[in-house]
Amino acid sequence: MFKWFVKWFHRMGSPPHFYRFAGSWLPWLTVVFTVLTVAGLYGGLVLAPPDYQQGESYRIIFIHVPAAWMSMFIYMVMASCGIIVLVWRMKLAEVVLICSAPIGASFTFLALVTGSLWGKPMWGTYWVWDARLTSELILLFLYLGVIGLYGAIDEKRVAGRAVAILAIVGMINIPIIHYSVEWWNSLHQGATVTKMDKPSIHWTMLVPLLLMALSFKVYFIISLFQRVRAELLHRERNSRWVEELFRS
């Protein structure tokens, strides 16, 4: 089993193999994404009942919460790639790392904006400098830092190693974001789903929320595969396999 995994891992590291693999999965992933999104949005916006306190305004959680989860999940993907880049010097991990950054930044931005729009009617303010909001904003800056640092260094193998270090260091922020609402008094409420206890959300709302979370995950994979394929073609533009790909 472990041997098989190591073999698979090394095969995945080969750009032409990954290029073909990602290409063959894209249509299927698109189908799954469409089904999940339609089901999640229908369940969340039509089937789910209004909240006992917030009425209809709470429905923004079907975007806000999955986006916030993705913002942290994608960062963990980047940091894991960073470790692979530094330890195993794998080219594909560099590409996955840098291709994840814009997607993660977009999800972080989405989480901040939707939260802010919800905050005005519910809390009475668009923005406060409490621990959760501030650490999430720092996450956005980390993403922008990764994108900027990568762009600033011309030699892309060097750039890949530099952003790997930044991604790993920034990982410290992830537990801070998650536990910020427990460690400090904050305006943002505590965790509803991602805690040891039973989720404090009714199942009619929880099911569409989890569907949307899955749909966002699949969207991330689709977007990542497309970006990685484009970046691989660009990086390997002088290699044989790319030449053969375009000759036929």
Binding site: P49, P50, D51, Y52, Q53, Q54, S57, Y58, I61, I83, L86, V87, W88, P121, M122, W123, G124, T125, V128, D130, A131, I168, V169, M171, I172, I176, W183, W184, N185, S186, L187, Q189, G190, A191, T192, D197, K198, S200, I201, H202, T204, M205
Partner: protein
């Protein structure tokens, strides 16, 4: 794993551990600044700054919301199920403001120990449920999980 890779992995782990400890100490030192609000018990204990704006958070005590006069001025008691502080505020309250609700007020204490708020924010709890479920829970005398935590 080759020795070179093992060494690099060790270095990364050491780097992350070192930074984690550093950030941990920094956050510990800044603890009071990161705390978004003080509780009424903190005020009672004299931890809140005098003659300076700060925030107080707690639950609005049921039956204490009063509107003296015609204007937007509202008075209520705020509790953390331990101490109580009286809050006065003139302005528009957020949608979620109601008795029993967690709120955060920004302002300062006057000489009489009343909190004069310049801003009131509603703190939402982490519970989401349809109104019927809430009614059923109230009837059966069940408490919501979020409400036991220090009152907010």
């Amino acid at each position: 794993m080759t020795p070179a890779r093992k060494k690099r992995l060790t270095l990364i782990i050491l780097m992350v551990a070192g930074i984690a400890v550093g950030v941990g100490f920094a956050l510990k030192a800044l603890n009071e600044n990161i705390m978004f609000f003080f509780s009424p018990a903190d005020i009672q204990a004299g931890k809140a700054p005098a003659n300076k704006d700060f925030r107080v958070g707690g639950l609005v005590v049921e039956g204490t919301v009063k509107r003296p006069g015609e204007g937007l001025t509202v008075e209520f008691n705020l509790t953390d199920n331990d101490s109580v502080v009286k809050v006065k505020y003139t302005g528009i309250l957020p949608d979620l403001f109601r008795e029993g609700q967690g709120i955060i007020a920004n302002g300062r204490l006057n000489d009489k120990g009343e909190f004069i708020a310049s801003e009131v924010l509603a703190k939402h709890d982490e519970n989401y449920m349809p109104p019927e479920v809430m009614d059923a829970m109230k009837k059966s005398g069940q408490k919501m999980p979020g409400m036991d935590k220090k009152g907010i």
